[in-house]
């Protein structure tokens, strides 16, 4: 069965589709010369060798009329720029510029610079769109310059200079943050910095000025190499320091002594060994301490957290340890990433990117049930859509974290009891193991979906 990918319609050079579950990319005859140039110039080998471009093999028996059919190496989990921390977006931007620099050296150029074309593949920001290249005519402008500024530069400057949460503007503006909006949001002093002034402020003004111009114009040579170098030096200088995270002192907070923390780790490890999942999502991952129990065992793991500072710390740690199985990502579980774009299908919801073999749901139930008023049965219903096995930690009233949530509000949660929890989850799951975490009031469950 052939199923064309709903996000693959913009570029006419080819398209991606699934055939009997395998992801394939058709290269159209119109793109023949460009594809051959990529493969024969040595650029493909160079980029793949340095993990900047997704490797592929050419296969036979592809779509009718296609010049070639490619089978790209599968990416474990697709994430979108609005799910990345600052450094993830920065590394994706720098990877894009590095690819463009090398392309130019090989007489080619990137014809698009979409942040959605970059995925974290085995830890490295990697271009997944093999058809992004075309031969470059010296002096021609960089067609993707505007897209690069909207997808990468504008959000990075806003995250670094205004507020890291502004990355969420990418969720509203699917083709990147409009430059006039970005310029407007910047403090006056920041706006006047030379790099930001040129690539964002003046760029936005030029866009506005020529918005309605459709005149044929006199060609003027562009020094794209210098332009790319200037963008690179500007982006390298942008910084973000994750000071106190929302959960900053979470582990040092009274709930866990070192001993019970290690005990919880041992239990999680035992449950993972029991199930041997192929993929794991840790949906309240914080800085990834428990996610790493899975990823260090060689299991591709996504470590989600609502706090961009925690995800930033997690990503830095993953980078430092050169981890290939851990992918940190921003996710607000009370408002999970929806499907967006054309027909709601261009960028998938997080739920549609699952389900996975195992979800870790640790120290999270009280945030859903008390912090967000979600009935326990409804938590069970949603979680059941995301996994086959569930490792879930019951956090009762009387626990200091629950007390903290209830300190400033009325306790209307009569059904928030261990019995109520077990009843709610037993509708969807069968309990396989149940163990009290020593030194705490909490219980850890391993459940299997019914």
């Amino acid at each position: 069965m052939i199923e064309r990918h709903p996000a693959s319609f913009r570029d006419r050079s080819g398209y991606i589709y699934r055939k009997n579950g395998t992801l394939l990319r058709a290269v159209q005859p119109t793109y023949k010369a460009e594809y051959d140039a990529l493969m024969k110039s040595g650029l493909y080998d160079q980029l793949v060798g340095d993990r900047l471009l997704i490797p592929h093999t050419e296969v036979t028996g592809g779509a009718r009329g296609a010049y070639k059919t490619l089978k790209p190496e599968p990416v474990d989990f697709i994430t979108y720029p609005y799910e990345w921390s600052f450094s993830q977006l920065k590394d994706a931007a720098l990877a894009t510029l590095e690819i463009q620099r090398r392309a130019l050296e090989n007489g080619q150029t990137l014809k698009d610079a979409s942040a959605y074309n970059i995925q974290f593949h085995q830890g490295a920001p990697t271009l997944i769109d093999t058809l992004s290249f075309e031969r470059y005519k010296k002096g021609a402008p960089w067609i993707a310059y505007r897209q690069f500024c909207q997808h990468f530069l504008a959000p990075l400057v806003l995250m670094s200079k205004v507020d890291v949460r502004l990355s969420q503007l990418l969720r509203v503006h699917i083709d990147g943050i409009p430059l006039d909006l970005a310029a407007e949001l910047l403090p006056r002093k920041t706006r006047m910095r030379p790099g930001i002034y040129m690539h964002l402020v003046l760029h936005a003004r030029a866009q506005q000025k020529y918005e309605s111009t459709a005149k044929k114009a006199k060609p003027r040579k562009v020094n794209v190499k210098a332009l790319v170098a200037s963008l690179e030096s500007l982006i390298k200088k942008l910084e973000y320091e994750p000071a106190g995270t929302e959960w900053g002192d979470y582990y040092t907070f009274t709930n866990y002594t070192d001993r019970s923390f290690r005990e919880k780790g041992r239990l999680v490890e035992r449950f993972i060994k029991n199930v041997k999942p192929k993929r794991v999502w840790d949906v309240g991952g914080n800085t990834g301490a428990f996610s790493r129990i899975a990823s260090d065992a060689g299991i591709p793991t996504v470590s989600f957290d609502v706090d961009p500072a925690a995800v930033e710390k997690n990503y830095r740690e993953a980078k430092k340890r050169e981890e290939t199985n851990l992918l940190p990502a921003v996710l607000d579980l009370t408002n999970p990433t929806p499907g967006i774009g054309w027909a709601h299908e261009e960028r998938e919801s997080v739920t549609d990117r699952g389900p996975v073999d195992m979800v870790l749901f640790l120290a999270l139930i009280h945030h859903m049930a008390i912090g967000n008023n979600v009935p326990l049965s409804s938590v069970a219903d949603y979680v059941a859509k995301t996994c086959r096995h569930l490792v879930i930690e019951w956090v009762p009233k009387g626990d200091s974290q629950v007390n903290k949530l209830l300190a400033t509000r009325e306790d209307i949660f009569d059904d928030y009891t261990q019995k109520g929890f077990e009843a709610a989850f037993s509708r969807r799951f069968k309990t396989v193991r149940k163990t009290k975490i020593k030194g705490t009031k909490r219980t850890l469950y391993l459940m299997r979906r019914k």
């Binding site: 402008p141 040129m198 003004r205 020529y210 044929k216 006199k218 190499k225 210098a226």
Partner: protein, 73 residues
């Protein structure tokens, strides 16, 4: 507002310098935007000197050394 008008005025000659540019590639499926093409021609020009010096730093250094060394003799 006043500041903005001043900034706009100072930017005007740069923008005017740009004189319309057209992209000339065959497979462009995204709109490069006229303003974006004009501004990159200008920025590319502005940063070109620095870029040249940076990428040819060794050669420039050798040249300066040769010239100044020659004078000393």
């Amino acid at each position: 507002m006043q500041q903005r008008i001043t900034v706009l005025k100072s930017a005007a000659p740069f923008i005017a310098l740009g004189i319309l540019v057209v992209p000339s590639t065959a497979h462009a499926y995204i709109d490069p935007g006229t303003g974006s093409v004009i501004i990159q021609a200008i920025i590319g020009g502005v940063v070109a000197v620095g870029f040249f010096l940076k990428t040819n730093w060794l050669r420039v250094k050798q040249l300066v050394r040769r010239v100044s060394g020659g004078k000393k003799k």
